[in-house]
């Protein structure tokens, strides 16, 4: 029952909640970002990061550094922290933590299938997979010719199996089918995660509902914008929207028929939580939309830490860490390309 978590949460979740709050205090601050934004070279960035919690992961990297190396090593830190929490977690927290990684699993499946379609070497593709989304039989994905085989040979034994019911066909895999498969899987995953959090109840259900609804709405907007001018029909576009969220169902009806960014803006401005996001953009512009969405997401994720005795802090920490890694990737790219004047275009401060 909501409100009585304080009595029992700490028995199984208290240690890990303390651990994740400790991890949260290690996130980079605005002062750290200001120092990083003033770096002239990637070696300077490495030097600054060595003084943070990323130190052990970067200090032995030889020069010259590459931006992908910085991102890989920072991601390794996230993976280590996640694995530490997962191995200590009991049910239902362990299932909750596993749910957080299913998105990466879907991305890895699509990466392997797409790369195989393009006749790339499987080992090369495996190196590019996100470590949080790895599973045992992932390399076998390269053998499948269509979705039915994909499911039957590999994915039936993975947590993604239940999400395939809506997209199993015998059609050969091509770029459009793969894109629809990606979005259909992600839709099913979000809905499943949402239902799982609802079953957990309490503060977890309340906070995670808000965070996952925001994720679903953001996905709907991105799918709409990215499909403008493509062959994706209105019906197909609508099928990719999740069946929950603030925009469900009327917002989805309107988004499905949008043909340009201004129409999308017109739809979104009817919803008060999204008005401030679109107010930051000028008409016809979509360049800063991603940053505006990330800023809103970070605000909501930080708020999750204001309450105790719920699992949303774990989800919030993972997402904030991913945002931090995105920030570091952007700063590294701007420094490497000698475009420091653009560094604040995409950095989202967390604190």
């Amino acid at each position: 029952m909501y409100g009585f978590e304080a009595l029992t949460f700490n028995i199984h979740g208290g240690y890990l909640e303390a651990i994740v709050r400790g991890y949260r205090s290690g996130l980079l601050t605005a002062a750290d970002y200001n120092n990083l934004c003033q770096c002239e070279t990637l070696d300077d960035i490495k030097m600054h990061l060595t003084a943070t919690e990323y130190g052990p992961y970067l200090q032995n990297e030889p020069s010259p550094l590459h931006t992908t190396t910085i991102v890989e090593k920072c991601t390794l830190k996230l993976v280590d922290e996640y694995k530490h929490m997962l191995c200590q977690a009991t049910e239902p927290l362990s299932t909750f933590l596993e749910y957080i990684t299913y998105g990466h699993m879907i991305d890895n499946v699509v990466l392997i299938v797409t790369g195989t379609l393009h006749e790339r070497d499987v080992q090369e593709l495996l190196e590019k997979c996100h470590p949080l989304g790895m599973f045992d039989s992932i390399a076998t994905l390269a053998v499948a010719q269509n979705m039915r085989e994909l499911y039957r040979l590999v994915l039936v034994d993975t947590p993604l199996a239940p999400y395939f019911s809506e997209c199993i066909t015998s059609e050969d895999l091509d770029d459009m089918n793969i894109e629809i498969m990606r979005n259909t899987l992600y839709k099913a995953y979000l809905e499943d995660f949402y239902q799982f959090c609802q079953k957990l109840g309490g503060a977890t259900a309340e906070i995670m509902s808000d965070l996952l609804a925001f994720e679903a709405d953001r996905r709907a907007v991105n799918i709409t914008i990215n499909s403008i001018g493509t062959e994706l029909t209105r019906d197909d576009r609508k099928k990719l929207y999740s069946n929950f969220g603030l925009l469900y169902p009327y917002g989805h009806e309107e988004l499905a028929v949008c043909e340009d960014i201004d129409q999308v803006r017109g739809v979104m401005e009817k919803y008060p939580p999204y008005q401030p996001i679109f107010a930051k953009l000028s008409y016809g512009e979509s360049q800063m939309l991603d940053k505006a969405f990330y800023e809103e997401e970070v605000k909501r994720l930080c708020l999750a830490f204001e309450q105790q005795f719920h699992y949303a802090v774990f989800f919030a920490y993972m997402r904030l860490k991913e945002q931090e890694i995105r920030n570091l990737m952007w700063i590294s790219e701007c420094v490497a390309q000698n475009q420091k004047s653009r560094v604040h275009d995409s950095v989202v401060f967390i604190f």
Binding site: T68, V71, D107, N108, L111, T114, G115, H118, E119, R120, E124, L125, E127, K128, C129, H130, D175, M176, I178, E179, R182, N183, N222, I223, I225, N226, S227, G229, T230, E231, L232, S286, Q287, D290, R326, M329, W330, E333, C334, Q337, Q339, R342, D345, S346
Partner: protein, 229 residues
């Protein structure tokens, strides 16, 4: 005879002066053309640098938006396929080769198209050619045809959009507008590169001409000096 010589010399003198002036003007024109070409080449160089910087930043923005797993070199298509864009080198004049870029007209499309599509593809071929000579001819042809074939122009634009989407499809069919902007930037950079190649070819050719003129002027001056001595 001396009187005849006296009458003839002023006219031949005026004729040689006029010829000399014309030669000088021609040399000046060549020098000016050389300097203009050099200036245009440097402008194009700067424009290329700026376009490429923009393209790389847009690519980084697209990676930020879509995720590093969706935009990376592991997704490049290694299957055999015809190039969507090709470069033709026309070498009528050995010293001044001419470069033509044919964008978004792959051989696969030309072989498999219907009659109507072939007409559209010829329009596409002419429209996308960046050869300086063909540009003027092609443009005037297209302008003459435009009142009659606005529909075919729209179809050509659709075809170009389809080809662009097809080449981006290795990263997925629902890609960020930033990735499309990056594609346009790199496409513009490619156009600029071909323009630079043509400009450089013209520059080198003009330089050779100026150099030759300078060399022949020096020889003439030596001969004149010897005669005077």
């Amino acid at each position: 005879m001396e009187e005849e010589n006296g009458e003839l010399n002023p006219e031949s003198g005026r004729a040689s002066t006029k010829q000399h002036q014309e030669e000088e003007e021609e040399e000046d024109r060549k020098v000016v053309k050389f300097l203009d070409s050099a200036d245009s080449y440097l402008d194009l160089f700067e424009s290329l640098s700026s376009t490429l910087r923009q393209g790389w930043l847009e690519l980084a923005t697209a990676r930020q938006s879509m995720g590093a797993s969706r935009i990376n070199s592991a997704l490049f298509d290694l299957k055999y396929h015809s190039a969507a864009t090709s470069l033709q080198v026309i070498q009528d004049d050995v010293k001044q080769p001419n470069f033509t870029l044919c964008k978004w007209v792959s051989i696969d499309n030309r072989n498999s198209s219907t009659e109507e599509a072939k007409f559209d593809e010829n329009e596409l071929f002419e429209k996308n050619s960046t050869n300086a000579q063909l540009r003027y001819r092609g443009t005037s042809e297209i302008q003459e045809k435009r009142p009659e074939s606005n529909v075919s122009t729209l179809t050509v634009d659709d075809q170009i959009q389809k080809e662009r989407s097809k080449s981006l499809s290795m990263f997925g069919t629902l890609v960020s507008p930033k990735l499309r902007s990056a594609q346009i930037s790199f496409e513009t950079a490619l156009d600029t590169l071909v323009e630079m190649a043509n400009m450089r070819s013209s520059l080198l050719s003009t330089y050779d001409q100026v150099h030759k003129d300078m060399a022949s002027t020096k020889v003439d001056e030596k001969l004149i000096a010897q005669v005077q001595v």
